[in-house]
């Protein structure tokens, strides 16, 4: 069942219960009140009669005289009967002359004990009656019993009218309330409907959609705001993924284009063995390039999925730096680029030595790659506070300021880098950044186009070395 209908049903049920309880209580209280009022008025009339009988006249008096003497007793809606202790009627008021309503045994018995009795009586074809019987006791002996009675019809009629009014108005009120509840639930739920429709459009692939719910701090407003933030994040990450796969396919297409082109060209006509050898060499280069791209992509996607295992062992960075320097010195030999050691202070960090080595080697290899012949690449290591600062500096082609924020993006290569060195996947620095992040460190870059670059890796020192 729809939420709107469910809300309305719950609301209606609760309201109906409340109304029924209210009506029942109202009816009971009113009925009780009205009967009490009748009893009270009967009692007053009876006591007045008793008083008159006791003080002024003898016990036997014709009612005509009696009522002439006491006009206040000749009330139309009440009748009087005076019984002898045997239960026989001795005097009855004019409005009851023709009809005898005998004293009940209970009332008689109570009268002998000096007690007043209230009774209800109903005779077929007549309105219901309310009766009060009061004994008159003189010197310890029951002399007379005064009974005053009245019709309960007005009370019953009032109660019936009340019942009728309740029976008509309660369902009407309930229906009106249900209609109001349905309308209000619909109004309150309309933003939810809007959100659903927007979500459907969004799941249809259009991530530029946003929810247009009036900005408010209520539940729906907060839901919409949260939803919008989530979509914005999704949009960003979708765009990144799309960009990434576009870039990846572009980077893989280039070597494929070269291989396909070279091979097809070679096959167009018979060639010399030397020509075939050149094509195979070219293809091999492209295969190596693709292998490198695929390896690096695989590492990054595994890193994204959190599947790359990282050791956490103490690493002597100073030893590692000296080792890397020896290894990298060979890289620049052909072009006369010198990889040298600057100041190296002892420093120990915790982490995965293979990864840190990869990070450093990547940075040094980059420095060599983007240096000009005869350039210098000093590596240094200093401790500052709680962190180790590893610096790789070069005096190569540098990075323009507007390109610096992008150099860690996947596949990003500056035009200058592309022009300077054809090989390179654009993934190396992304991997470096990932490794630094995984060691709770970071990489800073200072560079000027044409002047050179300085990469600083900042890694937290192992507490054991402090």
């Amino acid at each position: 069942m729809a939420l709107r209908a469910r809300l309305t049903v719950w609301y209606g049920t609760a309201l109906a219960l409340i109304l029924i309880v209210f009506a029942t209580v109202l009816y009971a209280v009113l009925a009780r009140g009205l009967k009490d009022q009748v009893d009270q008025s009967l009692q007053q009339a009876a006591l007045a009669a008793v008083h008159a009988l006791e003080n002024r006249f003898g016990p036997f008096l014709p009612f005509e005289d009696f009522s002439a003497q006491f006009p206040e007793l000749a009330v139309v809606d009440k009748f009087f009967q005076i019984f002898s202790p045997t239960g026989n009627i001795t005097i009855a008021s004019a409005n009851i002359k023709t009809r005898e309503i005998p004293l009940s045994p209970t009332a008689l018995e109570a009268a002998f004990q000096g007690k007043t009795t209230y009774e209800s009586a109903r005779f077929p074809g007549e309105p219901p009656l309310r009766l009060v019987s009061v004994p008159i006791i003189y010197n310890g002996t029951l002399v007379n019993i005064v009974r005053v009675g009245t019709s309960l019809q007005p009370v019953e009629e009032t109660l019936q009218r009340l019942l009728l009014v309740l029976a008509v108005t309660l369902p009407i009120a309930l229906l009106a309330a249900l209609a109001g509840g349905w309308f209000l639930a619909g109004r309150a739920l309309r933003p939810v409907e809007d959100i659903t429709q927007a979500a459907q459009r969004i799941s249809g692939g259009d991530l530029t959609q946003r929810l247009h719910v009036s900005p408010s701090s209520d539940e729906i407003g907060r839901l919409a705001a949260t939803f919008n933030e989530m979509i914005a994040r999704l949009e960003t990450s979708f765009r990144q993924v799309r960009q990434f796969s576009t870039d990846a396919s572009h980077e893989l297409r280039t070597p494929l284009t070269v291989m396909k082109g070279e091979t097809e060209l070679a096959l167009r006509r018979p060639r010399s063995a030397e020509d075939y050898r050149l094509v195979l060499e070219s293809n091999l280069e492209e295969i190596d390039r693709m292998t490198r791209i695929v390896d690096e992509l695989l590492f990054l996607s595994r890193a994204d999925l959190g599947e790359v295992k990282m050791e956490s062992l103490p690493i002597r960075l100073d030893v590692l730096v000296e080792d890397i320097q020896r290894q990298a010195a060979l890289l620049g030999q052909d072009q006369g680029i010198q990889v040298t050691l600057g100041p190296v202070e002892p420093a120990t960090i915790r982490g995965d030595e293979l990864r840190i080595r990869e990070l450093l080697l990547n940075l040094v290899a980059n420095a060599v790659k983007y240096s000009r012949p005869g350039g210098k690449v000093p590596i240094s290591l200093v401790s500052e506070g709680n962190s180790a600062r590893l610096r790789v500096t070069d005096d190569g082609i540098g990075i323009a300021p507007e390109e610096q924020p992008h150099i860690f993006d996947r596949f990003f290569r500056t035009p200058a880098a592309r022009a300077h060195a054809k090989e390179g996947t654009g993934l190396g620095l992304s991997i470096c950044k990932w490794i630094a992040d995984a060691h709770h460190g970071r990489i800073e870059v200072q560079s000027a186009a044409g002047v050179g670059s300085q990469f600083t890796v900042i890694l937290p020192l192992s507490t054991a070395s402090n």
């Binding site: 576009t246 494929l256 284009t257 070269v258 291989m259 070279e262 060209l265 070219s282 492209e286 054809k422």
Partner: protein, 223 residues
């Protein structure tokens, strides 16, 4: 036919150049967008092959620049991405055709031939002047049904003359369209090649198709 290849991936540019040269086209290669725009505006090319991802100036801007300067040369764009949007943008900016990398070399050459054909308003692609017939697709030349064997340069020269049959072509025009820009145009090599062609096409024939226009150049026409 002279072709300008604007492509920054050296190895891609290299095999495209070699393939086109095997078809006897004169080829210039440029690896930078801005330089490519400059060359395209000032050189007389019969076709420009343009990569869209370029340093210096994006390929699409090179294309717009060329069209703005009223350069009518057919342009074939190369895209690394198979996205429709990029092809549409390229075609709307004035490209005549496109290829997605990686592409088949034969397709590139066929598309190049189709674009040359469009330049002279032919339909079949087969060139014919009198009883001299040249088929660019098969590179077959016949005269009066007899097959004529030509060297690559001779073929290129004949193709150029036939595509502009009836028009007087000056020596600089011939140099620009048949040789690439490394060629030293002060030599009399054109006259030498025209003579080679005459020997193979007109020698012993009643109707001489290749005629010298004194002080201007050459013209190929039906007599």
């Amino acid at each position: 036919m002279r072709v300008l290849v604007i492509e920054d991936e050296a190895k891609v540019a290299s095999f495209i150049r070699r393939a086109l040269e095997e078809e006897s086209y004169a080829v210039d290669v440029c690896d930078d967008g801005a330089k490519g725009l400059d060359l395209g505006q000032n050189g007389s090319y019969d076709l420009i092959i343009l990569d869209l991802m370029l340093p210096g100036l994006p390929g699409i801007e090179v294309l717009k620049g060329l069209r703005k300067e009223k350069v009518q040369t057919p342009v074939l764009i190369l895209t690394a991405r198979s996205q429709v949007e990029q092809k549409v943008r390229g075609l709307d900016a004035g490209a005549d055709d496109y290829l997605t990398k990686p592409f088949a070399i034969e397709e590139l050459l066929a598309r190049a031939r189709a674009l040359f054909r469009r330049g002279v308003g032919e339909v079949t692609g087969i060139l014919q002047v009198d009883d001299l017939v040249l088929n660019p697709a098969t590179r077959e030349v016949t005269r009066g049904g007899q097959r004529i064997e030509l060297t690559a340069k001779e073929y290129a020269l004949l193709e150029y003359l036939m595509r502009h049959a009836g028009r007087v072509l000056t020596r600089p025009m011939i140099v620009e369209h048949v040789w690439n820009m490394d060629f030293d145009s002060f030599t009399n090599v054109i006259d030498v090649y025209v003579n080679y062609l005459r020997n193979k096409i007109d020698r012993g024939r009643e109707r001489k198709l290749i005629q010298t226009v004194r002080g201007s150049g050459y013209v190929l026409r039906a007599v």
